[in-house]
Amino acid sequence: MNELLFEIVNTTISIETVINKVLRRDSGAITTFIGTVREFTNGKKTLYLEYQSYETMAIKMFNQIRNEINTKWPDAKIAITHRIGRLEITDLAVVIAVSSPHRKAAYEANKYAIERIKQIVPIWKKEVWEDGTMWIGDQIEINPYLDGRNEGEDTN
């Protein structure tokens, strides 16, 4: 099996393609998380987003997340595709699919994956507004980059 479970692309993400990477005969549940580009954040209107990645390291970090998930939910299988470049409002930025024999692990592992992506995967987004731009950083803690214990919440 040579399909890539973790990809960074610069064109539209096919949700079905990501789902099919985790579909197997012993799966009884597949959960998907789809991150989309939001128009308003705290009342401020976003025109579009620019995503950038440190691609080779990002793929490594996706693999690290997979390993962490395999420790916590041994039966779960995960695939992630993240888009970079210019994304318009409502575009899909990330699709995460997790399959498992029963639904609980699929839900939990999927949530874990998106939280970890926001902590350790070197991908950045720039908000472009009518009156300016800003690279958004979610992290205020340094520890989450180095270990898996912090599972802080954020609003993004």
């Binding site: 991150g35 995503y51 950038q52 990645s53 440190y54 080779t56 390291m57 990002a58 490594k60 993240h82 930025a93 990330v94 998106i114 992506i117 926001k118 902590q119 350790i120 995967v121 070197p122 991908i123 950045w124 987004k125 720039k126 690279w135 958004i136 950083g137 979610d138 992290q139 205020i140 340094i142 980059y145 180095l146 993004n156």
Partner: protein
């Protein structure tokens, strides 16, 4: 020589995505490199910036070696 990779706001502030610097046999750790970059490019703060050496996160005390790729990772915001 070491390669420094810059991303996001740091890339825009410094005006390039890559710098190459010679170590000249000096022993430098991650903190030294951060201080050098901050001073050279008059950056306000690197407090929240993590460093990855050859694609692995590294703490301030790790000594860099010739040939290393040092990436400055501003707070990430994927997803």
């Amino acid at each position: 020589m070491i390669t420094i990779l810059l991303f996001a706001n740091l890339q825009e502030e410094i005006g390039t995505n890559q710098l190459n610097i010679n170590l000249d046999n000096k022993e430098l750790n991650v903190l030294h490199i951060k201080e050098w970059l901050k001073k050279t490019y008059h950056l306000q703060s690197l407090n929240q910036v993590m460093i990855a050496i050859n694609e692995c996160y590294a703490t301030d005390d790790v000594v860099v070696s010739d040939g290393d790729t040092i990436a400055f990772i501003p707070p990430v915001s994927g997803g």
